[in-house]
Symmetry: C2
């Protein structure tokens, strides 16, 4: 993800310097765009708050963009807060299920630990722009756009994500290879999905609930989607009025089966098990057995679609139903940036946001989601980055 | 498996002493029947041929019964050969797929490494009785019985294994918990299944080939069975004439789905992967995540059935079809022996064989399968152990 951010940012003029940090300094160095003196590599342990603070001080960082997996949200977030700099991420602090009614009530919500720090961020006059990838991120921007420009009243905001990406093996046959971090995908899909309803607030359901076939644009077509725990459901109701907010992921029947089996066998667990003389997290072993999603771009084909489906009453007072969407073709992202589609689509949005913050078009203090800002300049700048969005009326 | 062997043998008089050896001496000690001075515990590394030879010498062992998983067949087999003692096992040396046509041709067959040592065993006048559990084992005895007493000509001998065992979790709901070593089950089910046909010899197919619904006796009923690599297919044609020999395992659709997913994700692999700072075999991690099958007996209910289905021409010259079978109820094995049904059913057969060898009713030299011996005394003695077999005419 960091490599794609660097490749996208390298084409822009809005920043003076960008430090790409990784646990493995060689990996950080490989992410640096060629012949661009604005970029530097550094080594850092993302679980070590003090080390991150030292890195911020050493390079006089003004904005920390967290591009690692959500296990490391809190130390990076706390380091930015402590160092008094602005912060962005693409996924929020992890949830914990309700101790007695996990499939009915929210326990600790996604991002709850970050919103708890809201007063301190506001007092310090600093901004934590949370959930600023594609989903959450662009999907939240779409929700704000719909509320401001398309609807007078919103019944439901449903994020819908689907793709027709296929990865082929050495023999040219399709292979099983998730296009995004399996660690995060397991976390999202096996946690109790969260749903928001006005009057009732946030509640949870069984995993894979409310299956529906959603017809995606471009040539993706119909995909089976199910409820999944995702930040948008927590973020959108804070700034956008809607009677219901959901997130459904187009996993498809095969992938749902794989996730159910991993859960059934306990292979989704993150607590270590003893194997021979060592201790390992089963979920880390699953991830180690699968190819690194970031390396799959040249064996992948197809498109991925992120978007926000909105129903309600249009500004003209008549019923309206739209799907605001952003489709990315893997062939294009590979040719232009050498990044696979899902990674590129996630990475482009925080770069757009950084540019809006750098120019002052977006500004704010506290812990804010993307829907707290004006959607139009964001969508215009995304289009200027060469990646237009679309709208489908039902 | 060793604990069940000891518990069963403790009720018999045919031996002077039995040493239960394990990598973990405390585990060996726990397997000793109470207040029976014939039993002793020892520590041994089953992968260390010299250590096994030393153990044989120390205790003046006459028969080595290998009751560990098939990865350790060769060092134990070689140690017995080198020490000049008799040997029994319940699974044979592992196969390796054909390098270019794994789903058509046999590469290295199950037991091939053991049969290669046949001349040396014969020269030494010592017996290696291989595949002497329930399947292989009792199933091979059934095949010999059918050939000697029921048929004048055999068309097909098909081993068919099915169960209705259910394991319940702490909340009383059924949980996923294989009743036999998952390591061995993965090995059996994902290796190319082997089939024997007179004239063509041994050949392999794709995993899970030739699905059929087989109606099992007792109250087990119909279960989906598929071809699986198993020793009987290699053993039976060496001693019993048949036009076709197969092994089909009643895995059921759910378990077949689990195995396919493990394979798809590479979690069936035994070669280590790097996870953080350590290296582990993914298959060992899968096993570590599941409950130890030997500990499930008191949470298990139902019956397991092993048997041999035979079609051909009866001794009266008319078409005949029979299913010779052995059904074990988990409630009975738990009450009688404190062992779960599948473990007990596997363990009882080598004890019966040891008793027949001790009494001289069975004798032989070389590397022999169970079907090389007279079936009747075996089946009679099994019944005398309290566990009768049955026959169903089609």
């Amino acid at each position: 993800m960091g490599s794609a951010v660097a490749a996208i940012a390298a084409r822009r003029e809005f920043f003076e310097a960008m430090v790409v940090a990784d646990y493995d300094p060689a990996r950080a160095a490989r992410a640096l765009p060629a012949a661009d003196p604005r970029f530097a590599a550094a080594a850092v342990d993302a679980s070590d708050q003090a080390a991150i603070e030292a890195l911020i001080a050493e390079h006089r960082i003004t904005h920390v963009l967290n591009a690692v997996d959500p296990r490391f949200v809190l130390p990076i977030f706390a380091a930015a807060q402590s160092a008094g700099v602005d912060y962005l991420d693409m996924a929020m602090s992890l949830s914990a299920p309700h101790p007695t009614e996990p499939y009915r009530q929210v326990g600790t919500a996604l991002g709850e630990a970050q919103f708890a720090a809201e007063p301190a961020w506001k007092d310090a006059g600093r901004l934590a722009l949370v959930g600023m990838g594609v989903e959450p991120g662009l999907s939240d921007v779409f929700a704000r756009y719909a509320a401001d420009h398309l609807f007078s009243e919103i019944d439901e905001i449903g994020i819908r994500d689907g793709a027709n990406l296929v990865v082929t093996g050495d023999d040219g046959e399709p292979i099983f290879a998730p296009s995004f971090s399996i660690w995060t995908t397991i976390e999202e899909c096996l946690n109790p999905p969260v749903v928001y309803e006005a009057g009732r607030g946030w509640f949870t359901t069984e995993p894979f609930s409310e299956p529906e076939i959603f017809d995606f644009p471009a040539d993706i077509g119909p995909v089976e989607c199910v409820n999944v725990e995702h930040e948008e459901v927590l973020l959108i109701p804070r700034w956008v009025g809607a009677k219901r907010v959901t997130f459904k992921y187009g996993l498809g029947a095969e992938f749902i089966g794989v996730l159910k089996t991993l859960h059934q066998l306990g292979l989704d667990r993150t607590t270590p098990v003893r194997v021979g003389g060592v201790e390992v997290s089963p979920r880390d072993v699953v991830a180690a057995c699968l190819p690194d999603p970031a390396t799959l771009g040249d064996r992948m084909s197809g498109k991925t679609c992120a978007g926000t489906w909105v129903t309600g009453t249009g500004v003209d007072g008549r019923p309206r139903e739209v799907y605001l969407h952003h489709v990315v073709d893997n062939a294009w992202t590979m040719a232009e940036y050498g990044a696979q589609a899902v990674v590129w689509q996630t990475a482009v949005n925080p770069v757009v946001a950084l540019e809006l913050l750098a120019s002052g078009v977006w500004s704010g203090t506290g812990v804010l989601g993307p829907e707290a800002f004006d959607a139009v300049p964001f969508l215009d700048l995304l289009t200027a980055y060469g990646s237009p969005w679309g709208i489908r009326e039902a």
